[in-house]
């Protein structure tokens, strides 16, 4: 009987441990470099400061969005590239998770929208 319980405990322990490895942090996710995997399988790999995404990093969403560039206080801020699931791409400046500043948006069909962006809208072409 004891062996049975021990066997059950070992199985539960290892299955829980293997699940835990698929989420949470690998590396230093406080002040340093680490990879955080969210429960929905969004993955951030990059630099951390005071437990916030800060510095250079890459964030991959499970549905295909990939942001690579600067993070500030866990937000997309600075220079960065966002690739959309269909292959469209924005390369440029970001402020608080939005396309703000100089940037180039290339649609999947090749159409290019280049200029100054304000909160995700192209306000001045150049």
């Amino acid at each position: 009987m004891k062996k049975f319980f021990l066997f059950g405990f070992i199985i539960i322990f290892f299955s829980t441990a293997s699940y835990a490895r698929r989420t949470g942090c690998e590396g230093d996710c406080e002040n340093g470099s680490g990879t955080w995997t969210y429960t929905d399988q969004t993955v951030y790999k990059g630099e951390w400061l005071n437990s916030k995404k800060h510095g250079k990093g890459i964030e991959t969403w499970p549905n295909g969005y990939i942001y690579e560039g600067d993070f500030f206080d866990s937000k997309w801020q600075g220079d960065g590239t966002l690739t959309f699931p269909d292959g469209s791409k924005y390369i440029g400046q970001w402020v608080e998770d939005n396309m703000n500043g100089q940037g180039t948006f290339t649609l999947a069909d090749g159409t290019i929208r280049k200029g100054i962006w304000k909160n995700g809208i192209l306000v001045e072409s150049n």
Partner: protein, 176 residues
């Protein structure tokens, strides 16, 4: 040792333990019976009737093993043909949070309301549009924007779906 400890337990605990053991035994018995005799219990007639009622959507899902179903080519998704796209669209009801967050990147007002609301979405919709021959998906948000009550509808073409194995969900709304 274990038997001795059990005998020393109060009567109430013994009864409770006995009841739990009995309940687990019954569950196990039915589980085993179900495992070994299920196919015999179900008559062939019922199986034939079930097969006749198969939805094209179920048939499609059973034939697709990959989790992402797209209308564009991608390395990790299944490329839907026009018929499959329409079948999936008309049978999909759920819009994922990530699809909403993705569409919000292009819609500042929606993003502000969504964040202020604690990610609360008023309503979602998925519908087939015969005019454009596209699957349209979207959501409605209600909240405060610039100190005023606002209602906003965000919509676009549903270009990617997630097959959870139980249902399908809109995974990418192209709203640009």
């Amino acid at each position: 040792m274990l038997t001795k400890s059990f005998k020393e337990l109060p009567e109430g605990s013994k009864h409770f333990f006995g009841l739990v053991t009995l309940t687990i035994s019954i569950f196990l018995l039915f589980f085993l019976l179900n495992t070994f005799f299920y196919e015999e219990i179900i008559s062939e007639k019922l199986i034939v009737e079930e097969k006749e009622q198969i939805n094209p959507y179920d048939e499609l899902l059973n034939s697709i093993f990959k989790k992402k179903l797209n209308v564009y080519e991608s390395a990790d998704g299944y490329l839907l043909n026009a018929d499959e796209y329409k079948i999936l669209c008309t049978n999909t009801k759920i819009v994922t949070q990530r699809a909403v967050m993705g569409a919000n990147i292009i819609n500042f007002k929606a993003q502000v309301i969504y964040n202020a609301n604690g990610n609360l979405i008023e309503e979602t919709f998925v519908k087939w549009d015969d005019d454009s021959n596209q699957c349209l998906a979207g959501y409605i948000l209600k909240g405060i924007f610039d100190n005023e009550e606002a209602t906003i509808e965000v919509s676009g073409q549903a270009q990617s779906f997630l097959n959870t194995g139980v249902d399908t969900r809109v995974y990418f709304i192209k709203n640009f």
